[in-house]
Assembly symmetry: C2
């Protein structure tokens, strides 16, 4: 089974990387973009169930102080 | 409108970061994980339509030589 674990900064945490990208997009002439936030995604192939993947995400992939995560099943 | 742009390495491109993470997970005692691949995710808030977001993803977020991307609408 494949799982997609997406890790973002929490909404109230400032995202300097996203802000830089937003500024670059404006400088390049892309209009109508209000905000960009950046995260990481991990595609995990595993025999384990979703609970185990959530445990790994919580303990290893995500810094719970400033980040949040979500886990999606992607099928076999 | 919010869009989620996910950028991965193409399937046939070696992912050293993912491989390192896999090794670390095994060293930490997590069992039953066969593979990990890593990507980036961009949450873009924009007035533009999905075609425009795909254009930005294609021209700025994604290095088409080694990466692929997908765009999802996340709602308002």
């Amino acid at each position: 089974m494949k799982y997609k674990v997406t890790v973002f900064l929490k909404d109230n945490v400032f995202d300097p990387q996203g802000n830089s990208i937003l500024r670059v997009l404006h400088n390049l002439g892309y209009k109508g973009i209000q905000n960009v936030r950046v995260g990481k995604v991990f595609i995990v192939e595993s025999d384990n169930n979703e609970e185990m993947i959530k445990k790994v995400a919580n303990e290893v992939f995500c810094n719970n102080v400033i980040e949040k995560f979500e886990v999606e099943r992607m099928g076999e």
